[in-house]
């Protein structure tokens, strides 16, 4: 999800030239093929390192920006129990962000630098968080579909060849399944509720379904670096495979809820053993990625504003720490 593989460019990477360099790369690939974990101090090709930085930082940014659409409903949560669950979930997402930024730092980049890139609009994050949360049902839909898609994407990443990322995923996946369950529970309560609540749930599914399918990234035919990422075992399952799996799991859940998936072409295909589904509106996807989704500007603006307004606080904290240090030394 959070790793849509949104930007194929990782900058020019010098190819291995000398025999010695080629030999080193071959040894690296052999370790990957033998399912060994790569750790921060191990030698790694520059392309591997940069691909990981891009993917993990996009993932981290997604966790952080993803707090905003749900945060939009914290003050309006309909019961105190729901409010508490939502706060706990959002707190988890902040933790995921911090944890992933740390994983990224093991690759030799500073979190501050990554955050600067995000605020400058140069970094990508999952397209899904550029959609608005208009009703309470959207909070349920995010848990059910968005966290559901995240799990689908992240479970194979637990076996990613890069150790710190794989370990981060193990921890994160446990929490994501709680997120998914609470979302499904919200949608179920609405679907079994009054006609107005049912309408709210259906309308929300109508809006989120296609954006949720887009979370797995562009179709394999358009996906620039899938092959290399697969070879390096950064990625283990392709975008289209994950998308299919998500549809297969989610359709029966929607049926149980009595909700209709907004895809007239959706039907079970007994020969394939999978659901067939209609074309994903990819032009919308590319538009959102390019910054023209319904909320791109607002999301980044909010992050920028908080960053700017917090500047004097961060400066004060640094100044205080420095005063302390000098005092301690004098004492």
């Amino acid at each position: 999800m959070y790793t849509q593989g949104l930007d194929g460019k990782i900058g020019p990477v010098r190819e291995a030239e000398t025999a010695e360099e080629k030999e080193r790369e071959a040894r690296f690939q052999a370790r990957i093929d033998a399912e060994e974990r790569i750790e921060p101090n191990d030698w790694m090709p520059e392309g591997y390192r940069r691909t990981l930085i891009r993917q993990i930082s996009q993932h981290a940014h997604s966790e952080i920006v993803g707090m905003l659409p749900e945060g939009n409903w914290v003050t309006r949560a309909p019961t105190l129990r729901r409010k508490a669950i939502l706060l706990a979930k959002i707190q988890d997402e902040a933790g995921h962000g911090l944890y992933l930024y740390s994983a990224c730092e093991t690759l030799g980049v500073e979190r501050a630098e990554l955050v600067e890139q995000l605020l400058a609009g140069k970094a990508k994050y999952s397209s899904i968080f550029n959609y608005p949360t208009l009703t309470w049902a959207d909070v349920g839909m995010i848990g059910w579909l968005v966290d559901g898609a995240a799990i689908m994407n992240q479970v194979p990443l637990q076996r990613c060849s890069y150790g710190p990322y794989a370990r981060a995923m193990v921890r994160i996946c446990k929490e994501e399944s709680f997120h998914q369950r609470q979302g499904y529970e919200i949608v179920m309560t609405l679907a079994q509720g009054t006609p107005e609540q049912r309408r709210m749930a259906q309308e929300s599914l109508d809006r989120w379904w296609w954006p949720a399918l887009m979370m797995f990234g562009p179709p394999d035919s358009d996906s620039v670096h899938t092959a290399q990422s697969m070879k390096w075992k950064i990625k283990r399952v392709t975008n289209d495979e994950l998308r299919q799996k998500f549809v297969d799991v989610t359709v029966p859940q929607a049926e149980r809820l009595g909700l209709r998936i907004p895809d007239p072409q959706l039907r079970w295909n007994p020969e394939r053993g999978h659901y067939d589904f209609g074309p994903v509106p990819w032009d919308e996807f590319w538009r959102v990625i390019a910054g023209e989704g319904p909320c791109n500007r607002e999301r980044l603006e909010q992050r920028r504003r908080a960053h700017e307004e917090g500047r004097w606080v961060r400066e004060a904290a640094l100044a205080h720490a420095e005063k302390r240090r000098l005092r301690d030394r004098a004492a």
């Binding site: 003050t75 509720g193 909010q302 004060a316 205080h320």
Partner: protein, 254 residues
């Protein structure tokens, strides 16, 4: 019976304070100066909502009119809320938000510490649990007051200003009214005046370390905990918080 009614009213004060302060802190989501701080404040908000649920849930049982925590949180208007004025104030800048959290946490620290001895054992148990949380809130907010007070010129100015703005809302916390007196006589709640000493000591120590000046004691605002006169802010908080329950009165579950 009359005693149950009084205890119900008293629990509303405790529950409403936690609920409204938790609401204000949850507004910091997406607006905190750093990610770590955002997490910390969400965590505090979560603790406070948890406390509100325990206090209001118990209040509803004592009342015996079939109102649960949500009926009390979502179906009362301003006139029936019993929170202190200080929790209703808007967050303001970070100095103001964290300064408020500090002043209230220092009060709650004393209050919950004393309530552990309450004759009402259920209340004592809630206080015991809440005290652990508030101890952390107090330390966290106190550290920020020190950092901001003894940070840069700007942060010092802002922190001092926040204290000046907040000070006139602290008196209400310590000024007993008839209900507080009745609770004290029944051995349910402590003598508020006696909590003051510990609060003064704790607050003064932090202000000293923060190189901040304790504001002069002047006129103290009141009217929140007895419901006599809330701030204008409370109505907006409730309008937002209660929106779904009000807009969909037929819904039985969420």
């Amino acid at each position: 019976m009359a005693e149950d009614r009084a205890r119900f009213e008293y629990l509303l004060r405790l529950g409403d304070n936690s609920l409204i302060l938790g609401h204000r802190l949850s507004e910091m989501l997406g607006n905190a100066p750093a990610l770590e701080e955002e997490m910390a404040l969400v965590n505090v908000a979560l603790d406070l909502i948890g406390q509100a649920r325990l206090f209001l849930g118990y209040a509803g049982e004592l009342e015996g009119a079939g109102r649960d925590e949500d009926a009390l949180a979502y179906r009362r208007d301003v006139l029936d809320y019993r929170c202190a004025l200080i929790v209703e104030l808007p967050n303001g800048d970070f100095a103001h938000a964290i300064g408020r959290l500090f002043l209230i946490s220092a009060f709650d620290f004393e209050l919950y510490g004393a309530l552990r001895e309450s004759a009402d054992r259920r209340l004592a148990a809630i206080a015991e649990k809440s005290l652990k949380e508030v101890t952390y809130h107090l330390r966290h907010a106190g550290e920020w007051v020190i950092r901001l007070g003894d940070g840069t010129e700007e942060s010092h100015r802002r922190m001092q200003k926040a204290l000046e703005d907040l000070w006139m809302y602290t008196g209400e916390l310590f000024t007993p009214d008839a209900l507080d007196e009745a609770m004290r006589e029944a051995g349910i709640a402590p003598d508020l005046a006696r909590l003051r000493e510990g609060w003064d000591r704790r607050v003064d120590a932090v202000l000293r370390e923060a190189t901040l000046t304790r504001p002069a004691e002047g006129w103290m605002q009141s009217g929140g905990k007895d419901g006599r006169m809330h701030t204008e802010h409370l109505g907006y908080i409730l309008a937002e918080m209660q929106f779904l329950q009000r807009a969909y009165p037929d819904a039985r579950a969420w």
